[in-house]
Symmetry: C2
Subunit: 578 residues, 2 copies
């Protein structure tokens, strides 16, 4: 096995940060009782490390290949996906009426965490399917749900999200794909879709028997911009009335990207309606597609933040193993000059503890966020609002620390880290996409200082900071950081212009995320208590590192968060170059 699933730390975070026991007291999540949770967490950990992890390196080396319109994955992927479906892992959080287990989002996060730690590129296949399921569940008609959800829930079919076009990236409203209503014939009531979409993750492959594309497009005479966008389902194969697969729809993959990382995940250019025969079905109402898409994007953002935890865990374990085995140089000042494992050198310990503390901090933030989302599902509006405040934090900071931890992993390996055979470099390359997709981290930070800052008259955000301050207790650095966060939030609300807020958005997002992560780690440590179990010893060391070294660093961002926009506009576009 290439790594050990972080089962114990995941269970701790699920218990303390997500508060699973409280969730299980609700009727809806009653199935999430302790034995079930433990079975899921240890089961998926074992499955992922055993069956998906061994495909990580070959997936990087050989990658996905497009031949004659078909995407091929290296040997082993098809079987590993089949086993995943057979064992029911895809159905964890799916709706019960369509064959799902209806368990909390918290546990779906855990399934994704384990799969992605094993194989980040492969895990994008179920991740994208989750998005397709959620938008159908919340916005599809009963008929569409019955037609598509059962096999999406089981994983026999997979799903994709089709937003981006060359001129429409972050600005989804600029898209030009069209959808014309069909008035009669066998497809009456449906739409003819025409256009090209780029960056479509797992847009084409043969691991699932059908692919359900969720496609944003414009109907005739739709309003300009984001208010004129509708959402359509475009299946790769038409689905007959009896549920069997019919003929192929007019959609194809025309090329796949040559990327920096996640090479086993085919990133497709998809062409819809080259022959005028691409048939799509409307999800929700015309011109309300963006809202339907954003439903699925909210949790998708949390799932991308999760990828930072995944790569962090994998990189940390790999570096730890190397640092225990690699013998080099004596301890500084040692009398006997005997070379030691590099893990014994202070700066290597610093790197490893930083990797561990950042990863566990991001995990604590992830499950805290997931728990709030689940409470929102149960009807708790305050928790729902808090989940929305937390979403940009886990997405942006989670993915940023993913890169940092993977980079430290390369550094711990020294020269070996730069050689591809070692595998440390792959984690770093793979990690680089996460701050970009599903809304760039800049867009997350903008969301934080615009929509989220003002929610509930500012209470959603400031209430969270107040909770941190209250719990900080005898941790002066955390208390100081909470005060810094509130000072920045207050300045942004009371004094700053919109541009000022945006200018300080990213440093604020980082410092705020560190404050929440530090707080949630502190809650873990307090929950474990002062026992001398191995877990308590390790957690205490990690939390101390986080609170004493990483938290004060975040306070150093306060000046940048409040420096305002004017200095950024001192240069004209021309003066920027040269």
């Amino acid at each position: 096995m290439t790594y050990t699933p972080a089962t114990q730390d995941q269970l701790l975070a699920i218990r303390v940060n997500a508060g699973i026991e409280e969730l299980a007291q609700s009727e809806r999540f009653a199935a999430a009782e302790p034995d079930m949770v433990e079975a899921i967490v240890s089961g998926i950990g074992e499955f992922a490390a055993g069956e998906w992890a061994p495909l990580n390196r070959v997936g990087d080396l050989e990658g996905a290949r497009l031949e004659n319109g078909t995407v091929h994955l290296p040997d082993g992927f098809a079987e590993a996906y089949e086993h995943y479906v057979e064992q029911g892992w895809n159905a964890i959080a799916g709706p019960v009426e369509f064959g799902g287990q209806g368990l909390p989002f918290t546990l779906s996060c855990n399934v994704l965490e384990n799969l992605g730690t094993a194989n980040m590129a492969f895990n994008l296949l179920p991740m994208l399917s989750v998005g397709a399921m959620e938008s159908l569940e919340h916005h599809g008609s009963k008929e569409l749900q019955e037609k598509y959800l059962p096999k999406l829930v089981s994983g026999e079919w997979s799903g994709t999200m089709n937003l981006t076009e060359p001129q429409a990236g972050s600005d989804v409203g600029a898209l030009r794909t069209t959808a014309h209503p069909i008035e009669d014939g066998e497809h009456a009531g449906k739409y003819r879709i025409k256009g090209q979409k780029i960056y479509i993750t797992w847009g084409e492959h043969e691991l699932a028997k059908n692919i359900i594309h969720l496609v944003l497009a414009r109907v005739p005479d739709a309003p300009e911009g984001s208010r004129g966008i509708s959402l359509f389902i475009v299946p790769k194969y038409h689905v007959e009335a009896d549920g069997s697969l019919g003929k192929r729809n007019d959609v194809r993959c025309v090329s796949i990207e040559h990327k920096l990382g996640i090479n086993a995940s085919p990133t497709c250019v998809m062409s819809y309606g080259d022959e005028g025969e691409c048939i799509g079905e409307l999800v929700g109402a015309e011109n309300r597609g963006l809202m339907a898409m954003f439903t699925m994007m909210n949790n998708a953002r949390i799932n991308v933040g999760n990828q930072g935890v995944q790569i962090g865990e994998r990189a940390t374990q790999q570096a730890q193993m190397y640092a225990r085995e690699r013998i080099q140089s004596a301890r500084a000042g040692s009398p006997d000059k005997a070379p030691v494992a590099i893990l014994e050198h202070p700066d290597v310990r610093r790197m490893l503890l930083r990797m561990k503390a950042l990863t566990e901090g991001a995990r604590a933030l992830l499950y805290y966020t997931a728990g709030q989302v689940d409470r929102g599902t149960l009807g708790n509006d305050d928790a729902k609002a808090r989940g929305e405040v937390l979403t940009p934090l886990i997405k942006a900071w989670g993915t940023d620390i993913g890169i940092e931890v993977a980079s430290l992993g390369v550094q711990v390996h020294g020269g070996m880290g730069f050689v591809e055979e070692t595998g440390a470099a792959q984690h770093w390359r793979d990690s680089r996409i996460a701050p970009i997709y599903e809304g760039t981290n800049g867009i997350q930070a903008a969301d934080l200082v615009t929509r989220k800052l003002g929610m509930d008259g500012g209470q959603a955000l400031s209430g969270l900071i107040a909770d941190i301050a209250r719990d900080a207790g005898d941790e002066p650095a955390l208390a100081a950081l909470a005060a810094d966060c509130e000072a920045v939030a207050g300045w942004m609300r009371d004094e700053a212009s919109l541009d000022d807020r945006l200018a300080g958005s990213m440093p604020f997002c980082t410092m705020f995320a560190v404050a929440v992560a530090g707080w949630q780690l502190l809650r873990q440590r307090r929950a474990i208590g002062d026992s001398d179990s191995a877990q308590a010893t390790t957690k205490t060391a990690t939390v101390r590192f986080f609170l004493d070294r990483i938290v004060p660093e975040a306070s150093g961002l306060r000046a940048a968060a409040t420096a305002g926009a004017e200095p950024l506009y001192a240069l004209t576009a021309e003066q920027f170059v040269g």
Copy 2:
């Protein structure tokens, strides 16, 4: 042209930070008068951007290939190297008596900066040759110098440094390559070398007519560890008495690494003496090889720090160009909703200005360091000591910001940044080696808090901080950071154990480097004055960004720098994993 050479900013740094006019007042560097300096800086910039930059992408794509013991580079490299040699760029800082121009190290830095901005992987060929030249110049006999230096200085021959063996990386003293004295025959007085070296940059290629390998090895009965290491010259082709090339020496490249980046630079496994006929010549005295090697390593470390500036400049320019051309989304709050160039969005401006400020800050630090080295060459011992204090700062922080800037460059490109065709990803991959080779950044930081901290009874380091504090004037953040640096230095000297110092070494190294870079940028701004030239406007904006946002961030590292080693040792090696 793929980018514009940063000629104006380089000239500013050479004038203000290196103080070239003062250097030119010495007899030794009299040739470095303003016209000459300007001719070199603009000439090498034009040559590099014109001839070397176009090979950067093909060098990455095709890379160096080993076939039947010969390393092949893509088409164009041989001609581009030939032109470089013909135009005399390799000889800028070489000794006059061997055909060099004897100009200051400052100008050799500039030649390397421009070549490396154009093509980081290719530039390693001249960079490594510089090291070989310097150790011959300082430690070789007159005979060896006459035999090897003229063609090394011209660039007709290239040089390599052979330290690392599988078990001897950071711990050079653990090496096992042997050297047996030859008592009679045609090679009497020379040595028979046997062993294998790894990570040998440009260890084999056909761009130069001969390759002069500098190899560390042990003579029989040498003391253990680093006091038993000797330095040898092993030419690829023997050199006859008349200077012509003789038969091939028994040294060969047995494999090259498959790396994360710098693919055009062949990283070789070199085998010496497979047939027992590898002949080497001793440089300096037996068992004094490490000292001779360190001579060349000191400036080599500065040259590696320079690579951070190079990749920073290239990545910044590429991101700026993209951000001016890419139209996406309206300005937040704009009434007309017209999409704008992404450079107009506040957070994109923040990223670009951060890239620019970090790059120019590292450049200011680079040339300040180079100027101190040149003063040391002129006999100024205080400047020599200061240059030694600055060396780990530019090596570690310079290479760290190289990665950060390249990463921001990927981020500015959004999804396009993750697609290899764009080229932004290559800069990021290339940048990752620099914190590893030529002494990992952890080793730089260790050097700072051990040897450098105590130099001249602490005065070398604290005198530098005092100069920053004195000049900070009305810049409160810089004054505060200088005070933080002195507080950390004082704690390290007076209270901390050796382990405590090492535990805080990396955060201290970073905050100290930011302080010096901020100070040197401030000196640039003051030197330019308040004119409304384009350069003054740009520089003012960059320096403001650095002092108001980056400097306060560095103060946030003080807690980590003084947190001590004990918390890092709270875990046993076993507890680290899992």
